[in-house]
């Protein structure tokens, strides 16, 4: 039980309460000492969470060795004795436990109703590395890490304006995870910020270990397989969405930050679309859109055409397919399900396998199994090709959360294709479209700007228009601040000397 009562004047009483709070916590250390050999004090900290060397040098040494006058209070100590910048007064037991839990040692002094917490928290930090889930050829190489303060720093370094605001809340009854909402004042809609805050405040859970916990609590449509909140570990992507008026939710302990609102097309964007020139960006986007359909539909279309619409295949192609299928004991649908299933299994296994042999095994496994299955006459060679192309296509989707949705949706569509042919596939697609039209992410229609059509935003979704022509921010930014940049910045060759 954490007492909310304020500290008492009597140190011994305080110690008693704190010792009962920290009963059976062998890692919490109570270090008794006296200031100037006279006044009793105590230092409370958790072993290993604080930098004790600094503590000894800057706190204990000056306090213990100092001659002290009769008149003395916390303020004087802070002003004259502690040469530490990060100090904080604490006055309740809740404050004390909070500070101690987050690694800041707390000093309590007899006859004082306030204590001091010293900011010598030492956390185990990973160094900043290139994010593994979203790598780019051109673009910044830094990625978020597990430490919240570092992540905020990374963003502050990209957006230095004072309009970048952070609001902090704690979620998790036991984990007491720090969650920070970040947005740019004047770009993000106030209603949106309020909505995000409300939804976060509603969460009552034991612990938050990853931002995924939060995501499931604040989604608009909990049963939908589509990701309605974008997650990324790239500071540049996060900064870009801040600049578009989105709200970012950072969670302590995970490199993945959440971005809301999210539309479907932003799941299909890669950071690089904006770095490599607009012609390249547009081309890559179209390629991605095309292969999105391939990843979703290719096995189903193959099954449908081969079992229902054989006349669609050019004669000579059908003959070679027929030849390779002649000895296959399974119907095309079963063959496709088998192969897709084992491909997904291989992929999953590849992630679980130890890093250094994982990739080798998954590729070799796929090749060997595919080759052996074909020569054993269990699956046909065209099917192996179809599965391979589908696999490659699903890797083209930049966001893992979107890619996995498509991988899952592939299976029901395959069943539909096996029972109703192309009609079934169309019904499947229509269902997906209707579902996507129903979804909203924090009030923003999921398929925006395609449905409902927003002409100004089509420029940055169907194609990637050059930067100088993207004059307007997305419409969900607050109404009074729509214009991103002034007209007339299109570069042209200088006349030079004639």
């Amino acid at each position: 039980m954490i007492k909310k009562d304020s500290l008492s004047i009597d140190l011994a009483e305080n110690i008693k309460v704190l010792e009962s709070i920290y009963a059976d916590c062998s890692d919490v250390i109570f270090r008794h000492f006296s200031i100037g050999n006279r006044i009793k004090a105590i230092l409370i900290y958790i072993e290993g969470m604080s930098d004790m060397e600094e503590m000894d040098k800057n706190v204990l040494t000056p306090l213990m060795l100092r001659e002290i006058g009769r008149q003395f209070d916390i303020q004087t100590i802070l002003e004259k004795n502690l040469a530490v910048s990060a100090v904080k007064e604490v006055s309740t037991f809740k404050d004390v436990t909070n500070e101690v839990s987050s690694g800041n040692p707390v000093v309590l002094i007899n006859h004082q109703s306030q204590g001091v917490s010293v900011g010598f928290a030492k956390s185990e930090k990973r160094s900043i590395q290139e994010p593994t889930s979203e790598s780019v050829v051109r673009g910044p190489r830094d990625g978020f890490i597990e430490t919240l303060s570092t992540n905020i720093v990374l963003l502050r370094q990209k957006i230095k304006s004072t309009d970048l605001k952070t609001k902090s809340i704690q979620i998790g009854r036991y984990s007491q995870t720090k969650v920070v909402i970040m947005y740019i004042e004047g770009l993000a809609d106030h209603a949106l910020i309020q909505e995000v805050e409300n939804r976060l405040n509603r969460i009552d859970i034991d612990g938050v270990l990853e931002s995924g916990y939060i995501e499931e609590f604040i989604k608009d449509h909990p049963y939908s397989p589509f990701p309605q909140i974008l997650n990324t570990e790239r500071p540049d992507v996060t900064a870009a969405s801040l600049l578009e008026g989105n709200v970012v939710i950072l969670t302590d302990g995970t490199p993945f930050v959440l971005i809301a609102p999210t539309t479907f097309y932003s799941l299909l964007q890669s950071a690089e679309d904006y770095y490599g020139g607009f012609i390249i960006g547009t081309f890559l986007r179209w390629l991605r859109y095309a292969f999105l359909l391939v990843a979703l539909l290719l096995p189903s279309v193959y099954v449908a055409i081969l079992t229902y619409h054989q006349e669609m295949v050019p004669t000579s192609l059908l003959i070679s397919v027929a030849k390779s299928r002649e000895q296959i004991p399974f119907p095309a649908l079963v063959e496709a399900l088998l192969m897709e299933g084992s491909f997904e299994a291989l992929r999953e296994a590849g992630i679980r396998l130890p890093k250094n042999i994982g990739s080798a095994i998954s590729i070799v496994g796929a090749l060997v199994i595919g080759q052996a299955a074909v020569s054993a006459g269990l699956v046909s060679a065209p099917m192996v090709m179809v599965v391979a192309i589908t696999g490659i296509a699903s890797f083209m989707i930049p966001r893992y959360s979107a890619a996995i949705t498509l991988r899952i949706l592939r299976f029901p569509i395959m069943f539909l294709a096996g029972t109703l042919g192309l009609v079934g596939i169309m019904l499947g697609i229509l269902t997906i479209i209707v579902h996507m039209c129903t979804i909203r992410s924090f009030g923003v229609p999921y398929l925006q700007p395609l449905a409902p059509i927003r002409n100004t935003e089509l420029k940055d979704s169907i194609i990637r228009a050059p930067w100088w022509s993207l004059k307007n921010r997305p419409h969900w930014t607050s109404d009074y601040n729509k214009v991103r940049q002034p007209n007339g910045q299109k570069p042209s060759p200088s006349k030079g000397k004639e």
């Binding site: 619409h309 042919g421 009609v423 019904l427 697609i429 449905a451």
Partner: protein, 375 residues
């Protein structure tokens, strides 16, 4: 209000196009060709006048009762009892017509590819998918239209382009060999399709900008006309006099495409395109029935009605005819008159009565509370 969503006039125009043309593209060329022969491309143009007229009528009615659908204001115009009767007639009519539409869909799919699949499965799956869209309300229908319609139109144009090398202009001549009569005769059946534009009287209360609603309604009629004329010309130039003897000329036309020995047999693609068009058509009709029924019964939510009405549509689809020939005959002859009379007479009657009542009331200069009440 039963429906809280709003759509833009453009969204309405977009999904009204397949809501009229989807089934028309398939059946109209051969039905009109039976009467109009090589003038079949003129028939949709004559027929489109009905479309413009109907859009005008429903816009005028909407102006009198801005926030109400036809089911609601018919009770305002001719009184509670007769208004309810008109409502019941309209809803039963639409239930029947939607049954006919899903049957057309079922006949086409089973005749073109799924020969042995039971009709109940073909129709049932489609109605189920449509019910999902109806559940989402008018906003979802509007957005789905924005996604589907441009793709459908684009693919349709591509098919037309792929056929250009096989078209023969000489099939068009002589134009108006026997005067204008054959093409007018041929326009009766497309007229029944164009009269379906009365559906926008269910939608106009939910359109954000009514003035532009009328304009875009007209544009929608025009786009359907262009689409039908193009289709008819394509079939005429490709098949000449044979068009009348083909059941689904567009389908056969797609099958006739052959580019570089590889792009062949695209009829399944046509089917796929067409299914998404029909999906919109059925959804719009289905939505109108559900919304109308809820308004007639004064329910607070239309969603509980979706599945029961879907089931009724399925049954009407199964019972509406025994086979394709019967269906085609119905749409070419008595059905056309039946559809036309209900969809034209009722709104025109309502408009005239409403207009006169309004005049009379204004003359008396009283009874302001008779003005439409928002439900």
């Amino acid at each position: 209000m039963l429906e809280r969503g709003k759509i833009s006039p453009v969204q309405m125009a977009l999904f009204m196009n397949p809501a009229i043309s989807a089934t028309a593209l398939l059946l109209v060329p051969s039905i009109t060709a039976k009467h109009a022969h090589q003038d079949l491309w003129l028939s949709p143009i004559w027929a489109s006048f009905i479309g413009y007229f109907i859009v005008f009528v429903s816009y005028q009615l909407n102006k009198l009762f801005p926030n109400q659908t036809i089911i609601e204001y018919s009770q305002q115009i001719v009184g509670k009892f007769f208004g309810k009767i008109i409502g019941v007639i309209l809803l039963l009519f639409y239930l029947h017509i939607t049954g006919v539409i899903v049957r057309e869909y079922g006949e086409f799919v089973s005749g073109a590819s799924l020969f042995h699949t039971p009709m109940a499965v073909i129709i049932g799956t489609m109605v189920l998918v449509c019910s999902l869209a109806v559940r989402g309300g008018i906003e979802v229908i509007g957005r789905a239209g924005e996604i589907i319609v441009p793709v459908v139109l684009l693919l349709y144009v591509i098919i037309f382009i792929l056929l250009i090398k096989d078209l023969e202009i000489k099939n068009m001549f002589p134009i108006m060999e026997k005067g204008i009569t054959p093409s007018l005769m041929g326009s009766v059946s497309p007229q029944s399709w164009f009269s379906e534009f009365i559906l926008i009287s269910f939608l106009l209360p939910y359109v954000t900008d009514r003035k532009r609603g009328m304009k875009w309604g007209m544009i929608s009629v025009f786009s359907v006309t262009v689409l039908l004329v193009l289709t008819n010309i394509m079939d005429l130039l490709l098949f000449g006099n044979m068009t009348a003897s083909l059941t689904y000329p567009v389908m056969v036309a797609a099958r006739y495409i052959s580019i570089a020995d590889f792009l062949e047999h695209l009829e399944s693609i046509v089917m796929a395109i067409w299914i998404s068009g029909t999906f919109i058509k059925i959804t719009v009709f289905y939505y109108a029935i559900t919304l109308g029924t809820a308004q007639l019964l004064k329910l607070s939510d239309f969603r509980p009605l979706i599945l029961p009405i879907g089931f009724l549509i399925l049954l009407f689809g199964l019972w509406s005819s025994n086979n394709l020939e019967e269906l085609s005959l119905f749409l070419g002859t008595s059905g056309a008159i039946y559809i036309l009379s209900i969809q034209i007479i009722i709104p025109v009657f309502l408009l005239l009565t409403g207009f006169i009542r309004n005049k009379v009331q204004q003359g008396k200069g009283n009874n302001e509370n008779e003005a439409p009440v928002n439900h």
